[in-house]
Symmetry: C2
Amino acid sequence: MNVRRQPVLGADNPFLRKLSYRSRLSAAELAALAALPSDEERVRSRGYIVRQGEAMKRSCLLVDGFAARYKLTADGERQIVSFHVPGDFIDLHTVMLKVADHSIGTLGDARIDWVPHTALLDVATAHDAVGLAFWKDTLVDASIGREWLLNIGQRDAYARLAHLICEIATRLAAVGLYREGRFQLMVTQTELADATGLTPVHINRTLQKLRADGLISNRGTEFHIEDWRALVEAGGFDVSYLYLPEPAP
Amino acid sequence: MNVRRQPVLGADNPFLRKLSYRSRLSAAELAALAALPSDEERVRSRGYIVRQGEAMKRSCLLVDGFAARYKLTADGERQIVSFHVPGDFIDLHTVMLKVADHSIGTLGDARIDWVPHTALLDVATAHDAVGLAFWKDTLVDASIGREWLLNIGQRDAYARLAHLICEIATRLAAVGLYREGRFQLMVTQTELADATGLTPVHINRTLQKLRADGLISNRGTEFHIEDWRALVEAGGFDVSYLYLPEPAP
DNA sequence: CGTTCGCTTGACGTCTCTCAATGCGGGTGG
DNA sequence: CCACCCGCATTGAGAGACGTCAAGCGAACG
């Protein structure tokens, strides 16, 4: 973990791109964001980034790799509450809430940038638009959470998994990690199970059905969407809750 | 719906109380909030407040009564994503997101105050602490959503319902609507089903089991918690995600 | 006083889980 | 370079939680 010499958030940073198309930011505001101090850290696959209950003094931006946030029940059942792709400011909420109410772990080797809460609060108060943009970013996160509630609460395994795959593909597409229907899904079937409230065994069978129906195919973590329209149909997927600029992949 | 003559948010307003104990606000900031303009509206039981997809120019504060936010799947299945008690600024997120990504309905006769987004943005930018307090309020909302995901995704019907009842009781207690284990639960079994991802029939049977086990009792909408410790135990309930000042009821 | 809505109950069906075993592939050490 | 693991994917059989369908009942309401 090293203090960076140069500004972390280059202008082409996916996080800044995301903020910019959701909120209109001036050059000065973008510059202030780009100048944020940060410590870089590399975390290996299946490593911890944040532990539930931990008091936080900084937030982390996922620069490269994949991550998941999750909560545990008293008897150890795990629920993944969100997946994250490069460019996501994963725990921006701890700026205000201070204590992590859930854990964050990596799904593959990852690179993250830690930014002190004080610095974030400083930009947020110095530039109103930035504060509002941070707020908006966490609101989109909450919107995704609501869609997950709908997904887990009301759709059967087949639709649930189709919907999740649509979401991941769409979010990866937004950061250029989805090309011609292909993307890396750095996730085990057990993790898909924890994200959907199903069991690994049932995920396996549901995945097979999706393949048999010609909606997707995969070799290991390499996924290919064979029939996007059918997958969207199966999952009842409607992008709008992601608040992305472009339509679906 | 009438324009108010006097400040809406009296100093004893439960929303301001909630903001104040979560964020430290100065007298000037509280005064600015109390001076917010608003239109009052009365909505009768099972009425709409906001419809999914609607473009919003104002947000509503639930002054009196109960409300639920919910989303619908393409084939009409409903998932309630949150319940609201008096003092909740129900759709503060539309200040930034503009379009409602879900509907809001009342559960009993309710009184709400509509506050224009422009006015909210004005106080938020004029007083940094207020902007941050709004942000924090929506973050707590998101934290509750995450706990719901855990609840629906990982707990069985019995624990799930016990947990939900614990949450409602705790939130009602925070606004003085829970006394000696008794509170009004203005919710039909069908609505409990839509909130937990179960069916009305199964909610009915699970409720009976909770009664048989001596955890709760109810006559109509009048609920009584017979054994708080056992209910907490059954639901695996841990208050911290609600970010309330006091411990459990 | 009929109608409606919500609660309740029974019988039955099924989606998803559990348990357990097998196979596969990639890393690791000899 | 091969043998041995270990984690993950896969399969099968059986069980159980929860859903579906359908009917009856009571209280609220027009």
